[in-house]
């Protein structure tokens, strides 16, 4: 959406909110007073700076080659790690993929009056377009199956545009934004 497409009222609110605020000069002085009370930060030694995490940018071609190389290494490593019959050698830890199986996980909610229901969670970027629920015929039940890795997942339903926690699931408490998320623990091999 571009500015030119904004509804006049939305543009009005944005324009008014963009106005500078008059800040209190004393507040800046308080910041600096607090800063001066702290020990001064010092440059990290060169050897330590070398270990700072840093993003790297790759061209698509280089990225593709790197990905292919990693896959190749995985295949070679897998061949070395498995016995000839494909089983993990005794005493060896399973691969990462084996430790994080993906389970088809079913989410259901009863919403007989709803026209549209979707599932949002930390597994789909809280994007309401990614996991729409389907109404079970002749019932008020809505259902969707989502492949999830083992672990703890936070989610909510979006019922006709309103975000609601799952009434049949434990909650994670307030998320700091006035909202309560539901929790789904997916174990290895769990189907629900």
């Amino acid at each position: 959406m571009t500015d030119s497409e904004l509804h006049p009222y939305v543009e009005l609110i944005a324009r008014e909110a963009r106005r500078p605020v008059a800040s209190d000069p004393a507040a800046r002085a308080r910041v600096m007073a607090a800063v001066r009370a702290e020990p001064a930060p010092r440059r990290l030694p060169v050897w330590l700076r070398a270990f700072q995490p840093r993003p790297i940018t790759l061209s698509p071609a280089v990225g593709g080659l790197l990905a292919a190389g990693l896959v190749g290494l995985g295949v070679i490593g897998g061949n070395f790690a498995l016995n000839r019959d494909g089983r993990n050698p005794v005493g060896q830890p399973p691969s990462v993929a084996a430790r994080l199986p993906v389970s088809d996980t079913v989410f259901v909610i009863v919403a007989p009056q709803a026209a549209q229901v979707s599932l949002v969670g930390d597994f789909n970027d809280w994007d309401a377009s990614k996991a729409p629920l389907v109404r079970v015929p002749n019932s008020g039940l809505w259902k969707v199956t989502v492949p999830l890795p083992a672990g703890r997942h936070l989610y909510q339903f979006v019922v006709d545009g309103n975000w609601v926690p799952d009434p049949g699931a434990p909650v994670a408490g307030d998320d700091g934004f006035g909202r309560t998320n539901s929790v789904r623990i997916v174990g290895t091999g769990s189907a629900l």
Binding site: M1, H7, A27, R28, R43, D174
Partner: protein
């Protein structure tokens, strides 16, 4: 080297006063976001104090290849989230009515006053996640990629949040118009 990077280097060399230049350069812009996000000046000042203090203490981990403003904003967004979490259930009171808007004869959005409380009231009605995305997009005028880097949220989710914020505001206008 940018002004920001030069000031950071001076601070790391022991010149604490150089940090005042950074505070002066960014305080008002950060204050606008914090006030719009948190809805009141006291909480906003807490967020700003914590932000600038945290940034100062972590300055030796700031990477010069990053924009200082983006790095600072990332801290600010997190501080605002933390403060919002602490006062999640505190009652917010807005005492002013949007009389000018409601009394507009043609009922078109022609309100042009400087009533800060009006804007705060409208923004406060948005879900905080929607408000945060709306502010970063249309008040701080960041790209979705910049917003994603700041918040750690995917671009598609942020687009959805901004769209929903705009939808909520439009619905609000429809309610006002039809009352």
């Amino acid at each position: 080297m940018s002004d920001d990077a030069a000031d950071v280097q001076r601070v790391l060399a022991g010149d604490v006063d150089a940090y005042a230049a950074l505070v002066d350069r960014y305080y008002d812009r950060c204050a606008r976001f914090a006030i719009r996000m948190l809805g009141n000046r006291d909480d906003a000042e807490d967020a700003l104090q914590a932000t600038f203090l945290r940034a100062y203490k972590a300055l030796n981990r700031y990477q010069e290849r990053d924009r200082f403003s983006a790095w600072l904003y990332r801290i600010l967004v997190n501080q605002c989230r933390s403060i919002a979490a602490r006062r999640a259930h505190r009652e917010k009171v807005f005492i002013r009515e949007e009389a000018l808007l409601l009394n507009a004869p043609d009922r078109t959005p022609n309100w042009t006053g400087e009533d800060e409380e009006f804007v705060q009231r409208v923004l406060s009605e948005l879900d905080p996640l929607l408000r945060e995305a709306f502010l970063l997009k249309y008040i701080e005028e960041l790209s979705y990629e910049e917003m994603s880097a700041l918040t750690g949220v995917g671009v598609s989710a942020l687009k959805m949040r901004v769209k929903r914020a705009c939808d909520r505001l439009r619905e609000r206008w429809e309610r006002i118009k039809n009352d």
